[in-house]
Amino acid sequence: MSAQTSAPVEVAREAEPGPDQATEPERRRRSPLLVVGLGLLGLVLLVALIASLLTPHDPRAISGAALEEPSAGHPLGTDVPGRDIFAQLVFGARTSLTVATVSASLAMAGALLFGVLPALVGGAADSVSNRLMVFLLALPGLPLLVLVGSLAGESHLVVIVLIGFLGIAPNARILRSQTLALVQRGFISASQGFGGGPLYVLRRHLVPALGPLILVGFVNWAGLAVALEAGLAFLGLGDPSGISWGLMLNRALAQPSIYFSPMWTWWVLPAGLAVTFTVLAFTFVGVALEPSFNPRWLRSS
């Protein structure tokens, strides 16, 4: 994997006096980005898991008057029908993490199927699937999401699946490159020559070599999925009766002149910050896990 191939070179170079003295592995281990990112993700995960312990309210149930100000009973007040905003915030973490996990899993599973597998088989399979990926890569993501989202109606599932689908091509490309490199380096043909079955090859060579890349791809796509889902919900696409941060923003900002009232500080801001920090956490982890910084943003086009 790239860390193994590039790090020695870098270490050798950087042993000489330069602007940066740290070695790559060291730098990663003590990367504050990783610590902060994992910390934030852990927090979101914890909130999602124990959401029902954090609040006595059902986020869908009407538990107060409309637009109550924050109080002991409703730490962030209530929304228009009178549902607890804090409850929506903590249960929204579940939605976001679900969207993130499912979409990213789909993306990575698809990437394995269309990136790694054809590369191992080689020949026409590889060339056809690669061409397909090149085409998919060229599809503009957000407009496609908007088009399908508006046509599909209020289905959350469609959005999740589509976000995952859009993640297949870019990740498949990366994994394919790496697989081809492994194949070329001859490890695989060698072990096959020694009678190693496909499973053995997979376990012995592919997983260790591709694992980190898959992890990084997963984390990056998960972050993107959270941002995309929130953005689509804000646009009014997706399931309008669900509980999610994007939907909270959509509802809050749909209030006429929300900024006339201080309620934006306990309604708009928490939801916005929750999205920001969750996406940021994924980004930090993704950035820190990569041997070098592989900006994720381009895939969002």
């Binding site: 869908r60 149930a61 009407i62 008057a65 409309a66 637009l67 929304d79 228009v80 029908p81 009178g82 549902r83 508006s150 109606g153 209020e154 009014g236 309008p240 009766s241 509802r251 749909a254 209030q255 006429p256 002149s257 900024y259 006339f260 009232s261």
Partner: protein
């Protein structure tokens, strides 16, 4: 189709209030002459009024979209009659209008000196052409799906300035919904146009109206109107009207980017900065708009059982809806459908909020509690239905679902975007229960002419988006036809009252609440704002005010 309505006004005019015939006491002859109210004292005329609305379609009668689109279009065109701020129909392009004894023939005498904006004079041929041109269209526009007026037997010129309109049968709504709404169009422009909905060239914008359109920034873009100094009533009071695409009306009003803004059921924090400031004033109108719950009566079982619908109505706390969804500014729903502000409103018993009573009613009707607290009907089928509502009304949907849960009725929520699913399903009866705004995409409304009752509830009217699906009550249908032919206001009032009682008992639909419409405006710019009675309130809908500067009459306030 034997139940084809005899006469349907263009649908954007459902909302015009009744035509004032009271003074004539049903004598059968109607004469309206030019009003002679005196103008106000010398005040500075506003050079420009700015409004926070973007263009809704191209402003011809064939491409303008919905109610606000109509309001934008009608500034360029005129009608034979037009309504002022008191709700009175004034002679407008017509100097006088006379009706025959049997109310079947109306004769309009046109004013002198009316010119089209391209300088051509208005002629009786234009008026005759207008009626014929509309009648030839299947829709006024495929985009707008407004239907041309029907039930007109003939239109002919009877003199150099006189046009006679003969109806297939007398209709009380004709003056308001047709003569007071149909924009007169120039023959020399439209006679060569086959697809009027696709005529979107600035060159076709020729009208007799008080304003010219100087600039059209496309749909959703800004509109600029300038007054025609050669307007037949005199130079209009407001000289320039700017309409801009603004999302946040009240921020725009506060920051000075617009001069008036309208909202429904406004929160106190929005009103606060304006109420504390002398520069602004506020007017409010009640009962102009509502959210309505529909049951599909075409489905067997509970949905077509009035006791079930009564129980549903009793389980929904309508006062609570007003406080939650309209910040306390609104009225609870009237099961008689017309809003309490409608002149034809007849008090009918409300379904008071009473969960215990609703449960008792369902028990006595044989709907027993089954598994999971959901009741079952006699066949053991659970009382579980799909409730559809507009995406923008998710809050209302949630409240209704929670309310019916209390009486063991399970509603599966299916919020849908405004659009294909909601309306398509509503129209074709493919639903259990629906919450729809009324009036929907186009105006009309719970305080418009009571003929709206016929259009919603009569089984002789073909299915429509807002119609009560599969509601059949022959006695009601009879009354609905009768009120259209009744010119004595007292008699009509009595018939309409009876119709409301029937509807309230059967409740095929239930208005849930009516949020108040509030218009906030900058006094210095224009201080005489009013809501036209019976009209769906939009902030553009003030043609009479912009022209005259006053609430009533046709005299223009002196500058």
């Amino acid at each position: 189709m034997d139940h084809e309505p005899v006469l349907t006004g263009p649908q954007w005019v459902l909302d015009r209030r009744r035509f004032l015939l009271a003074a004539l006491g049903g004598a059968g002859v109607l004469v309206l002459g030019a009003c002679t109210s005196s103008g106000g004292g010398p005040r500075t005329a506003p050079a420009t009024v700015r409004l926070p609305n973007a263009a809704l379609g191209f402003p011809t009668p064939f491409a303008a979209n919905g109610g606000p689109g109509y309001s934008q279009m009608i500034l360029l065109y005129d009608t034979l009659l037009w309504k002022d701020g008191t709700g009175e129909l004034l002679p407008w392009l017509a100097e006088t209008v006379t009706s025959s004894d049997d109310h079947q023939t109306y004769t309009f005498e046109l004013r002198d000196g009316v010119t089209w904006s391209d300088g051509e004079p208005l002629t009786v041929e234009d008026v005759v052409f207008t009626f014929e041109y509309y009648a030839a269209q299947e829709f006024l526009s495929p985009a707008v799906l407004v239907q041309p007026p029907r039930g007109i037997a003939g239109v002919r010129a009877t003199g150099p300035k006189a046009v006679e309109v003969t109806l297939e049968r007398p209709l009380v709504t004709f003056p308001e919904q047709v003569a007071g709404a149909l924009p007169i169009i120039p023959r020399h422009v439209w006679s060569s146009i086959d697809d009027p909905g696709a005529a979107l060239d600035m060159a076709v914008l020729v009208g007799t109206g008080p304003y010219r359109l100087e600039s059209y920034g496309g749909d959703g873009g800004p509109l600029l109107y300038t007054a025609r100094d050669d307007y037949f009533l005199g130079a209009p009071y407001v000289q320039r009207i700017e309409m801009n695409a603004i999302d946040d009306f009240f921020s725009a009003l506060l920051s000075g980017a617009t001069d008036a803004a309208r909202g429904f059921g406004l929160r106190s924090d929005i009103l606060a900065p304006f109420e504390g400031d002398d520069a602004y004033d506020t007017i409010t109108e009640q009962g102009t708009w509502s959210q309505v719950l529909y049951w599909n009566l075409g489905k067997e079982g509970p949905l077509s059982d009035p006791r079930f619908r009564h129980a549903c109505a009793m389980a929904i706390d309508q006062d609570d809806l007003v406080s939650r969804l309209a910040a306390g500014r609104g009225l609870p729903g009237n099961p008689g459908f017309l809003s309490p502000e409608n002149e034809f409103f007849a008090p009918v018993p409300r379904y008071e909020f009473d969960v215990a009573g609703a449960n008792a009613l369902l028990n006595s009707a044989g709907y027993r509690h089954g598994n999971g607290g959901v009741r079952q009907d006699a066949n053991g089928a659970p009382l579980s239905f799909e409730l559809r509502f507009d995406n923008a009304q998710v809050e209302l949907g949630e409240i209704v679902i929670a309310a019916l849960r209390q009486i063991g009725v399970e509603l599966r929520s299916t919020p849908v975007e405004v659009g294909p699913e909601l309306f398509g399903n509503k129209l074709f009866g493919g639903y259990d229960m629906v919450v729809l705004p009324f009036p929907g995409p186009a105006p009309g409304g719970p305080n418009a002419d009571p003929d709206v009752l016929r259009q919603i509830f009569s089984s002789r009217v073909p299915p429509s988006l807002t119609g009560a699906t599969n509601y059949v009550n022959p006695a009601f249908d009879e009354l609905a036809e009768e009120q259209r032919l009744t010119f004595d206001e007292g008699e009509r009032q009595a018939i309409v009252a009876e119709m409301q009682t029937m509807v309230a008992e059967d409740i095929p639909v239930l208005p849930l609440y009516y949020p108040d419409a509030t218009l906030i405006f900058r006094k210095q710019v224009l201080d005489e704002w009013y809501f036209t009675p019976g009209q769906y309130p939009t902030s553009e809908d003030h043609k009479h005010l912009f022209v005259t500067g006053d609430e009533s009459g046709t005299d223009i306030r002196r500058r």
